[in-house]
C-alpha cells in the first residue's frame, strides 16, 4: 500500500527529526494532541511557525542592517522567535536563539550577524523538514479519505 509506505516515510522522518534534535518533546506532545482529536492542529501550528519565524528572522536581519543597531529590539525579536520555536518544539531553532542572546547582550553586531545565520540555518532546516512532513501528511490524507 502506498499509504502505508507514506506513513512509514513519515514516521521515519519524524523520528529522525527527533533524534537529530530538530524537535523536542514539545513537538511530540503537539502531535499527540492532534491524534487525540485535534486534526490539522500540528499542520496549522507548523505553518504558523514557519511564517512567523520567517518574518522574525527577516526583521532581525533588518535590524542588524541599521547603522546603529537597536539591540533591545533585536532582543525582543529573538525572544519572540525563541518563544515561538519553543512552543512548536523546534528545539534547534530555540537553542540557536538562546545562543544568540550572548551576542546582543554584548552588543556585538558581528556576533549577532553570525548568530543570525545560525538561527536562519536552523530554521531552514526545520522548515524543510516540516514541509516534507506536511506533504507526506497531505498525501496520506489523500489516500485516506
Amino acid at each position: 500500500m502506498a499509504a502505508a509506505a507514506l506513513k512509514g516515510q513519515l514516521n521515519t522522518l519524524l523520528s529522525s527529526m527527533f533524534s537529530e534534535g530538530l524537535v523536542d518533546e514539545q513537538f511530540q506532545q503537539l502531535r499527540m494532541l492532534q491524534e487525540d482529536g485535534a486534526p490539522g492542529f500540528v499542520a496549522e501550528v507548523v505553518t504558523l511557525f514557519c511564517d512567523d519565524a520567517d518574518r522574525i528572522i527577516a526583521e532581525i536581519a533588518n535590524l542588524l542592517e541599521q547603522p546603529v543597531v537597536d539591540f533591545d529590539k533585536v532582543d525582543g525579536s529573538v525572544h519572540q522567535l525563541k518563544g515561538s520555536s519553543a512552543s512548536v518544539g523546534a528545539q534547534k531553532v530555540k537553542l540557536s536563539c538562546m545562543q544568540f542572546r550572548q551576542f546582543y547582550e554584548a552588543k556585538s553586531k558581528d556576533g549577532c550577524l553570525m548568530a543570525l545565520s545560525v538561527v536562519r540555518n536552523a530554521f531552514y532546516e526545520m522548515r524543510s523538514n516540516f514541509q516534507t512532513m506536511l506533504q507526506l501528511e497531505q498525501q496520506i490524507q489523500a489516500y485516506d479519505p
Binding site: 494532541l33 512567523d52 525572544h79 518563544g83 515561538s84 519553543a86 512552543s87
Partner: protein, 671 residues
C-alpha cells in the same frame, strides 16, 4: 466543533469545575497562542484567545464577569504583559498567569510582584495547564480574608488596661514600637469599613456604592497614582492627598478613593501570593494567663486571624518586598509556684531594603500560682515557594522566650530566637538575623538528669544552623534551615516540652541530614517540605524524656505535656511598612496533652487540615473554625495559616493529631 462543544460543557454547569473554566489567553505570538489555546481546550477550559493585550483588556473591562482566569504573555508589543497584569489586578479580581519564554529570576520576580498568581515558562505544557484552575479556586477562597479583619477587632475588643501594651504590640505590631494602639485600631476599623478611607473619616464614601463617573485608569494615570501613594506611604495615603499629588484634572477624590481601595486590595492579594507565612506563637498558659492578656478575653481561647498583608511599598521598581515575620513565641509560665515570669516572645526583625526593620515584641508578664504554663512553640515554616516564588522575602523569625523563674528551684532562662531565612535565589532581601537560641534549662526529670539545650540558630545567607546540645544523645544538630527546638523539661508537677520545629528543605535532604534522625522528609527535592505537624497525643503524665530525646521526635515534633492547662496561642503577624496586619491565632489546650508530630510528610492532605478544623472544640469561639479555614485556604502560595492549630479546650483527654507536613507544591495544589 470543539468550541461549541466546550461551550456546551460550560453551559451544562459549573459543577464540573474546572471543566468550562473561562480562560482568556493573550499572546502576541500566533504560534504560542495557537498552541496555548489548543492546550487549554484540551484541558476542557473555555478559551478566548486574543493576540493583543489591549483587546484583552477591553474584553475584560466590558465583560468582567466573563472570565475566571487570564493567561498572558509577558512580551507583547502593544502592551507589556506586566502592565496588563497590573491593570487586571487593579480593576478586577482575576487571577493572572504570566507566560514567558524568559525564565530569568528577575523577570519571574517581576511577574510575581506585579501580582501574577503563577508564572509559566514557554513552552507551556499541558500538565501545567491542567492545574491552573487552582488559582481560581484559591482566589475564591482567599477572598474571605478580609473578613478576618473582624477578628482583629475581636481581639482588641477588651482593651484591658493591664495588658494593653501587650496586645497592642502583639496584634498591632506597629513598626514603631511605641505605636499607639488606639490609632491603629482605628485604622483597622476604618479599613474594615472602607478600605480607602482610613483616618480620613469619609463616611459618605461608601466603597460599595457603585456609580461614579468612570475613570479609566490608564497606565500613566496609575503610575502617577502609585507614585503619589509611595510618596505618602501606603497607610498614610488618603485620597485627598493623593489627588493633590497627582494633580490630574477631572479626577475626583472619589475616583482616587476607589482606586486606592482597589490598590490596597491588590497589594493585599499580592502579599497573599507572596507571603508565605506561617507564624505561630503558641503559648500555653493557664486560663488566667489569657485573661491577663486581655486581648483574648471572651474568645474562649481560640481565635484565628489571618490576613494577608499588603506589601509595604509596592513600587514600580518591581522588587518584591514581602517581609514576613514569622513569630514564634514560646511562653513559659510559672511553674508550680508563684513566679514571675516574663516572656518576651517574638522578636522578629525584618531587614528590608525598604521597610524598616520591624521589631516585634511581646511581653507577657504573669504571676501565676500553681498554674502551669507551658510553652508550645510551633513552627513556622518558611514555606517555600516554588523556585519561582523563591525570591521573596525574609522572614525573620525570632522568638525570645525568657523565663525568669525557677523551675524546681533551678533558675532557668529560656531564650530562643529563631530565624527563618528563606531560600532566595536571587535578590532576596535577607534577614540578617542572627539568631541565638540559648535555652538553658535545667530540669531534673525522672529520666533525665539534665537537659540543657542550647540551640543556636543563626541565619545568614543561605544557612542557618541550629545546634542543640543536650546532655543526652541529642547533640549537635545542624540544619541548613531553620530549626528551632526548644525543650524544656521540668520534673515538677509539670513537664513542659516546647518544641518548635520547622524545617525547610530545599534541594537537599535537609531533613534527614539535619535532623539526624530518620526523618521521612524530603523526598521531594526542591520543594519545600514544611512540616509543622502537631500531633497531639494524649500522654497522661508522661514524664519520660525519651520522646524528647528521640531525635526524630524532638526535632520534628511539638510536644506538650502538661498536667495543668495548656494553652496554645498562635500568633501570626505579618507586617508591612506601615501597615500591619496581625493575626493571631489562639488556641488553648487544657488537659494533659503531649504532642508530638513527625515533621515532614511529603504529601499534604488538605483533608487532614480540615479534619483538624473539625476537631476543634465546638465551644471554641465561633470564629475559630471559619477563620482557620479561611486561613488555611488563604494561603496561596504559602502556608499562611498552616498552623497547626491545636485546639482543645476541655480537660478531656482527647487526642488528636494532625500531620501537617507538606510538600509545598501539593499543598498549594490542594488549596
Amino acid at each position: 466543533m470543539r468550541p461549541e462543544e466546550m461551550r456546551g460543557v460550560a453551559a451544562r454547569g459549573r459543577d464540573q469545575f474546572p471543566v468550562g473554566m473561562r480562560v482568556l489567553a493573550v499572546d502576541d505570538d500566533p504560534v504560542c497562542l495557537k498552541v496555548l489555546e489548543t492546550l487549554l481546550r484540551r484541558c476542557q477550559y473555555h478559551v478566548t484567545a486574543t493576540n493583543q493585550a489591549v483587546i484583552a483588556l477591553r474584553m475584560l473591562r466590558e465583560n468582567r464577569d466573563m472570565f475566571d482566569l487570564v493567561i498572558s504573555d509577558v512580551h507583547m508589543p502593544d502592551m507589556d504583559g506586566f502592565k496588563l497584569l497590573e491593570l487586571v489586578g487593579l480593576e478586577m479580581d482575576l487571577p493572572v498567569i504570566m507566560l514567558s519564554g524568559n525564565g530569568e529570576t528577575k523577570t519571574v520576580m517581576k511577574g510575581i510582584t506585579h501580582g501574577a498568581c503563577d508564572y509559566l515558562l514557554k513552552p507551556v505544557r499541558i500538565e501545567e495547564l491542567r492545574n491552573i484552575w487552582q488559582h481560581v479556586v484559591r482566589r475564591k477562597f482567599s477572598t474571605p480574608d478580609y473578613v478576618n479583619l473582624d477578628t482583629y477587632e475581636e481581639c482588641n475588643k477588651p482593651p484591658n488596661a493591664d495588658s494593653g501594651y501587650v496586645y497592642s504590640q502583639v496584634t498591632c505590631g506597629s513598626p514603631d514600637q511605641n505605636g499607639r494602639p488606639n490609632k491603629k485600631r482605628k485604622d483597622y476599623h476604618s479599613e474594615e469599613e472602607g478600605e480607602d478611607e482610613e483616618s480620613n473619616g469619609q463616611d459618605d464614601d461608601d466603597p460599595s456604592a457603585p456609580k461614579r463617573p468612570r475613570v479609566v485608569w490608564s497606565v500613566e494615570l496609575h503610575r502617577k497614582f502609585v507614585a503619589a501613594v509611595n510618596h505618602l506611604g501606603i497607610d498614610k495615603a488618603v485620597p485627598k492627598r493623593i489627588l493633590e499629588l497627582m494633580n490630574v484634572e477631572k479626577l475626583t477624590r472619589e475616583n482616587v478613593a476607589s482606586h486606592l481601595q482597589k490598590y490596597r486590595l491588590y497589594l493585599r492579594r499580592l502579599s497573599a501570593v507572596a507571603s508565605q507565612q506561617a507564624g505561630i506563637v503558641a503559648s500555653l498558659g493557664g486560663k488566667d494567663h489569657f485573661l491577663r492578656m486581655g486581648a483574648f478575653e471572651g474568645l474562649q481561647g481560640y481565635q484565628a486571624f489571618t490576613s494577608p498583608t499588603a506589601l509595604p511599598s509596592f513600587s514600580a521598581h518591581g522588587l518584591l518586598n514581602s517581609p514576613r515575620n514569622n513569630q514564634t513565641a514560646l511562653v513559659i509560665q510559672g511553674l508550680a509556684s508563684s513566679r514571675s515570669i516574663q516572656t518576651a516572645s517574638g522578636s522578629s526583625t525584618t531587614n528590608h531594603s525598604i521597610v524598616d526593620a520591624n521589631k516585634y515584641h511581646l511581653s507577657l508578664r504573669g504571676n501565676q500560682q500553681g498554674n502551669l504554663a507551658q510553652g508550645l512553640v510551633t513552627s513556622l515554616g518558611p514555606a517555600q515557594l516554588q523556585q519561582k516564588f523563591i525570591n521573596e522575602e525574609t522572614g525573620d523569625l525570632s522568638t525570645i522566650l525568657s523565663v525568669n523563674g525557677q523551675a524546681n528551684g533551678t533558675p532557668g532562662i529560656f531564650q530562643s530566637v529563631t530565624s527563618s531565612p528563606l531560600l532566595p535565589q536571587d535578590l532576596v532581601e535577607f534577614t540578617q538575623g542572627k539568631v541565638d537560641i540559648q535555652p538553658s534549662i535545667r530540669a531534673p526529670s525522672v529520666r533525665l538528669e539534665h537537659l540543657e539545650g542550647a540551640v543556636g540558630a543563626s541565619s545568614g545567607l543561605l544557612e542557618s544552623r541550629v545546634s542543640q546540645q543536650c546532655a543526652t544523645p541529642l547533640s549537635g544538630y545542624s540544619a541548613s534551615r531553620l530549626l528551632t527546638n526548644s525543650s524544656f523539661n521540668n520534673n515538677g508537677a509539670t513537664r513542659l516540652c516546647g518544641t518548635t520545629s520547622s524545617a525547610v528543605a530545599r534541594d537537599t535532604n535537609v531533613g534527614a541530614s539535619s535532623f539526624g534522625g530518620p526523618s521521612p522528609s524530603d523526598t521531594n527535592q526542591k520543594y519545600l517540605n514544611f512540616g509543622s505537624g502537631n500531633s497531639f497525643r494524649q500522654k497522661i503524665n508522661e514524664r519520660s524524656g525519651d520522646s524528647l530525646l528521640d531525635p526524630k521526635l524532638v526535632w520534628s515534633s511539638s510536644q506538650l505535656t502538661s498536667n495543668f492547662g495548656l494553652g496554645a496561642y498562635h500568633s501570626m503577624s505579618q507586617r508591612t511598612n506601615n501597615d500591619s496586619i496581625n493575626s493571631s491565632h489562639c488556641a488553648r489546650m487544657t488537659g494533659q496533652t503531649s504532642a508530638s508530630a513527625p515533621v515532614v510528610v511529603p504529601q499534604t492532605k488538605l483533608d487532614a487540615l480540615f479534619s483538624e478544623d473539625l476537631q476543634m472544640p465546638r465551644n471554641a469561639s465561633d470564629l475559630s473554625i471559619p477563620r482557620l479555614q479561611s486561613e488555611l485556604s488563604s494561603s496561596t502560595c504559602s502556608f499562611d495559616g498552616l498552623l497547626n492549630s491545636i485546639i482543645k479546650v476541655e480537660k478531656d483527654d482527647i487526642s488528636f493529631g494532625d500531620d501537617l507536613g507538606c510538600d509545598f507544591y501539593s499543598l498549594s495544589a490542594c488549596i
